[in-house]
């Protein structure tokens, strides 16, 4: 205990008391400061949510969410299907925050979204009233090698289970070049409609799901903001913004032809590969100085 009492009782000069007081002050400040530094570092690490942990519907972007969530668990209690978990001290998610793991227990997509309005702070945004507007994450077909649709086998479980059926996941019918006579039913996820509920990941028949719900920050790329897509600009403005369209010229590697009858790219028999051993050859094509 810091002693101010000795100073008060005796009529002596305040020097020793003051010195001790200042000493105590410095000691306490340093101790708490070191503690704070440790805590701050711990917080910055602990706030990195693991990729498998998906936030409930309506959750604010992670940084804001961590400022807004009181860790009360009312959303967990509000969920009638025990989907949401509250992170414990030893879990990877920041202690006390709600999350679910799609592979084990995906969001059921309740029409009335009972977990959202009970959130006292709005960490789960009360403006979300249509579950189809939720963006908990984004389903991604992460492994084309394991997904049996890519092998030409029929599965379509993810497509069929999807609550935004036919919109969030569509089947892209492709020619099966291996057999030459079958079709591939390739699942394709569309971010405009996928809610990230994870029902597809749960339903995936593989030992380890080939389609996974990833948090948006991992699932989405982002185009350079200066980028303009020519055809969109053209549609917007009713015509090309630059010089009139030039006659299209094929710019194909040597030994490659294009067949319009449906066969597409054809690599000539003689050529082992259309690509040179030296990647610079491809990059410099057409730039050879005139001799």
């Amino acid at each position: 205990m810091n002693g101010g009492s000795g100073e008060k009782g005796s009529g002596h000069p305040a020097q020793p008391g003051r010195r001790r007081f200042l000493g105590d002050l410095a000691r306490t400040a340093c101790g708490v400061g070191v503690l704070g530094l440790g805590l701050g570092l711990h917080a910055s690490r602990a706030n990195a949510l693991p990729a498998a942990a998906i936030r409930p519907p309506g959750a604010l972007p992670e940084a804001e969410f961590l400022a807004a969530c009181t860790r009360c668990g009312l959303c967990v209690r509000g969920c009638p299907y025990d989907v949401l978990k509250l992170a414990g001290l030893l879990d990877e998610a920041p202690a006390g925050t709600p999350y679910f793991v799609a592979r084990t227990e995906p969001c059921v997509m309740c029409e009335d979204i009972p977990c959202v309005p009970v959130c006292p702070t709005g960490a789960l945004d009360h403006a979300l009233t249509d579950i189809h507007e939720a963006r908990m994450g984004l389903a991604v077909v992460v492994d084309h090698e394991a997904c049996i649709a890519f092998q030409g086998l029929r599965c379509e479980v993810c497509f069929n289970i999807c609550p935004v059926r036919g919109k969030a996941i569509t089947l892209d019918l492709q020619h099966n070049a291996r057999s030459g006579k079958h079709a591939l039913f390739i699942p394709v996820v569309h971010s405009a409609d996928c809610t990230g509920c994870g029902l597809c990941e749960k339903a995936c028949i593989l030992e380890e799901a080939a389609i996974k719900v990833l948090p948006m920050r991992l699932a989405k790329g982002e185009l350079g903001h200066h980028y303009r897509l020519g055809w969109e600009q053209k549609a917007e403005h009713g015509g090309s913004l630059v010089t009139p369209d030039q006659q299209h010229r094929y710019n194909l590697p040597e030994g490659v032809r294009y067949e319009h009858g449906g066969r597409g790219l054809i690599i000539d028999e003689g050529a082992e590969s259309p690509y040179s051993d030296n990647p610079l050859d491809t990059l410099n094509r057409g730039l050879e100085p005139d001799r």
Binding site: M1, N2, L35, L39, H42, R71, A95, P120
Partner: protein, 306 residues
């Protein structure tokens, strides 16, 4: 100081078991009752109060939010919380402004059960020593908590806050709560006497500031009767708050325990053989003497009492 075993003995002989443990029992009933109400939902399906001490919803209508948590939220940059949280924080704040901030600590907080157990065992085993922390450390901790929220933009302290970790752990059945309780127990038992609640807890510091202005206080109106048995100092978790009120007559101090650190636990009231203390209001706070002999000199009234 006398050993823990004898504390309250004289008072018990004078006034019986119940009168000397009334507030303690009521306090335990309150602490366990609140825990029980929270647990009724998950265990028995009776939903009276949902959530935990961080935020909760009583009977599906009354929201409550920990005001310090709310403050951290604002500092962390979340400036537009839903109205529920604002109302909830205001309700809780208003309640503790009225009854004494650290009523939370002694009547509600589950950590108090742990630290009181450690404190009790410390007395029983006659354990001494450990590190000395300044009582003011908690205010540094409070500043730290807010600074962390500001610096990280998140409720960083909530990652390690033992109070919410323990309560949440009990309510939601997270096993890690046991470690938290054990760590606090051992800390208070061996490392620092009344170390957590009395020196470190930033929530206690916050509620201490709230309680500094609250009207409900422990008063030592009969302080002239004090025979220096020291029992109140032994049982009090914040003994430093007693002295100004109990011994301040000559210095012109009133008989009200004004310090916000007082938890209004009422232990001093019941163990005092001379019945010096009682719950009361902040005002009036001046020497009253006894009964009609107001303003009588301390010496006289003391003589009358003994």
């Amino acid at each position: 100081m006398s050993g823990g075993g004898k504390t309250g003995l004289t008072a018990t002989l004078n006034r019986g078991w119940w009168q000397t443990r009334k507030w303690l029992v009521l306090r335990r009933v309150s602490q366990l009752g609140i825990l029980g109400l929270f647990l009724l939902g998950p265990l028995a399906g009776v939903r009276i109060i949902d959530g935990n001490l961080s935020s909760s919803l009583l009977l599906d209508t009354v929201p409550m939010t920990d005001p310090l948590l709310f403050l951290q939220m604002l500092v962390a940059g979340f400036l537009v919380p839903a109205g529920t949280a604002v109302l909830g924080a205001a309700l809780v704040m208003g309640f503790y402004l009225l009854v004494g901030g650290r009523v939370f600590c002694s009547w509600v907080c589950p950590v108090n059960l742990v630290t009181d157990a450690a404190g009790w065992l410390r007395l029983r085993l006659d354990l001494h020593g450990g590190i000395n922390l300044a009582r003011s450390t908690r205010y540094w901790m409070l500043a730290l908590v807010l600074l962390l929220a500001l610096a990280t933009g998140s409720l960083a302290y909530e990652l390690v806050n033992p109070v919410s970790l323990l309560h949440r752990g009990i309510i939601f059945g997270l096993g890690s709560a046991a470690f938290v309780a054990l760590a606090l127990f051992l800390f208070d038992l061996f490392v620092a006497r009344r170390g957590w609640c009395g020196h470190l807890c930033p929530m206690g510091a916050f509620y201490g500031l709230v309680g500094a202005v609250s009207p409900v206080r422990v008063r030592a109106d009969q302080r002239a009767a004090c025979d220096d048995c020291m029992e109140c100092f032994v049982v009090c978790p914040e003994p430093q708050v007693i002295r100004p009120a109990l011994k301040g007559a000559e210095a012109g101090r009133g008989p009200v325990i004004l310090a916000g650190e007082c938890t209004n636990c009422g232990r001093c009231i019941e163990v005092c053989p001379q019945e010096v203390f009682a719950f009361g209001l902040r005002y009036p706070n001046r020497e009253r003497g006894q009964g009609s002999e107001t303003r009588s000199s301390p010496g006289l009234s003391k003589g009358a009492a003994t």
